[in-house]
């Protein structure tokens, strides 16, 4: 039994029974799962969590699913103290939540695990999504594990190399000849016509909740406390809002002291509608046309943009964006200081942390957690210019010559 009580509109407060649905019928705003926290408070505690499995499902009591989970072994990823990177950018207590280390190499396994479990519970036999890579791979992998059918839609412009990491799980893979907007439109029509569980459409409220585990884990790994500062990337803004929701819930339930975390949004300058709104002091997030190498977070019209924005403001956090050049530099810096090869989104986060430290928005002594949400190898060509090998003949002399060892 879960403690999920209803779906509630984030804007007007209208409630709906737990069902496949994501938008309020009245004001067309996103719906969110609400829980019976009174009942939850009676059963959850640190010891119970500690006895759970070494995966995101140790936080089952905080998630909205009723049936046995579809789990690939997602979560409980390392939180590492990043002393080398911290020294480079002037932070003494910098940690990295390394979510590259998930079964399909990105944090998306967290929301997808919950969405697919919920899809099974609702009686769907097909799960679907539209994605340029990470999400599609995760959906296809979970469908394989769950013995369900997966239908994934990919814009035809996606690099062919990315398709391998999706196709290997054998989903029904459709490349759509058209723009991103065409794919958006197509999926909005399909979800009305077919009884499919679209993880980020009709299952979105449940999908969202999986990302809360990014917040719970960090608090537990820090010895049950909230960080002083969090820097996390935002595309739709959903994950960012759920990291905060997790810290807020843990405080409310008494598992940690009241969270006083400053939440910072990281985006690529070529796709930064949330950062733009933050800087303009606006409440509304104006859509943009994305243009950045950080393709996984290139979303121009973010569903949860205004909610991410509100959290950044209310927590005394902020928002930062970096250019593609800074993204590449960030990727290399992370790899070369901490040994973590992240995809471009990781470069965005590192670049933004660096800026925030330099501007004093994050102080040297703040306990700061940077979320690195996707691994590098799927898109490793992004940094192909790092390959500059020293060419040698198969002799010791030749090696010593290129190393400059005096004869």
């Amino acid at each position: 039994m879960s403690y999920a009580r209803a779906l509630r509109c984030r804007k007007c407060g209208q409630e709906y029974p737990v069902q496949p649905m994501s938008v309020c019928e009245f004001c067309l705003s996103p719906l969110e799962v609400v829980y019976d926290y009174k009942a939850m408070a009676k059963t959850v505690n640190r010891d119970k969590v500690a006895k759970g499995p070494l995966s995101m499902w140790r936080y089952r009591d905080f998630l909205p699913t009723e049936v046995k989970e579809i789990d690939l072994g997602t979560g409980f990823t390392p939180l590492v103290k990043a002393d080398n990177l911290g020294r480079e950018i002037g932070l003494d207590r910098l940690y990295i939540k390394n979510d590259c280390l998930n079964p399909t190499y990105s944090f998306k396994d967290r929301p997808v695990s919950v969405a697919v479990t919920k899809a099974r519970e609702f009686g769907f036999d097909t799960i679907a999504c539209a994605s340029t890579g990470n999400l599609a791979a995760s959906v296809a992998a979970h469908a394989a594990k769950a013995n369900m059918k997966a239908c994934v839609f990919v814009p035809a412009s996606v690099e062919p190399g990315k398709l391998i990491g999706i196709a290997v799980y054998n989903p029904v893979l459709m490349t759509v000849e058209g723009s991103y907007d065409d794919v958006n439109r197509l999926c909005a029509l399909l979800v009305q016509r077919y009884h499919w569980g679209f993880v980020n459409i009709n299952l979105r409220p449940y999908y969202a909740e999986g990302s809360k585990t990014l917040g719970y884990e960090v608090a537990e790994q820090l010895g049950w406390r909230a960080p002083d500062c969090v820097v996390a990337p935002a595309a739709s803004g959903l994950m960012f809002t759920r990291i905060w929701k997790a810290l807020d819930e843990l405080s409310m339930l008494g598992l940690i002291e009241p969270a006083n975390t400053h939440m910072f949004v990281a985006q690529a300058a070529g796709s930064s509608p949330i950062v733009n709104a933050f800087e303009a002091g606006s409440l509304h997030v104006l859509p943009v046309v994305p243009d950045t190498i950080a393709k996984s977070i290139a979303i121009g019209n973010p569903t949860d943009g205004q909610y991410a924005l509100r959290i950044a403001r209310q927590t005394g956090g902020g928002a930062g964006a970096v250019t593609d050049e800074e993204v590449l530099a960030g990727m290399k810096l992370l790899a070369q200081t901490e040994g973590i090869f992240a995809e471009a989104v990781g470069g965005v986060v590192v670049g933004v942390v660096k800026k925030l430290a330099a501007s004093g928005a994050i102080k040297r002594n703040d306990l700061t957690v940077a979320y690195i949400t996707g691994a590098g190898p799927r898109t490793q060509d992004t940094v192909a210019d790092v390959v500059r090998p020293l060419v040698v003949r198969p002799t010791v002399e030749s090696v010593e010559e290129v190393l400059g060892v005096p004869a």
């Binding site: 004001c27 067309l28 814009p155 999926c187 980020n200 459409i201 979105r204 104006l286 859509p287 393709k295």
Partner: protein, 80 residues
């Protein structure tokens, strides 16, 4: 009959035009506004359209051709 939930974002020079009224009149689409914020500088409107699928498509194409950005209300679905 089909339904479509969309957000229009108006640039300053279009704020004063009766775009939504004309959409209803010219394309036989029923327009139902749910949320909006319009100032003299710019504006956005979230609305539900109801009508024949083809009429909605043609109507939205016309709105776009007026320089108004049309987005699905649920935001971008294609994720990373």
């Amino acid at each position: 009959m089909a339904k479509r939930q969309v957000m229009f974002t108006f640039p300053q020079e279009r704020v004063k035009e009766p775009i939504i009224y004309n959409l209803g009149q010219q394309f036989k689409v029923v327009t139902n506004i749910r949320r909006a914020d319009v100032t003299e500088a710019k504006g956005w409107v979230v609305l539900e359209l109801e009508g024949d699928e083809k009429d909605i498509e043609r109507g939205l194409a016309w709105v776009s051709s007026k320089g108004i950005r049309v987005d699905p209300v649920i935001g971008d679905i294609v994720e990373g």
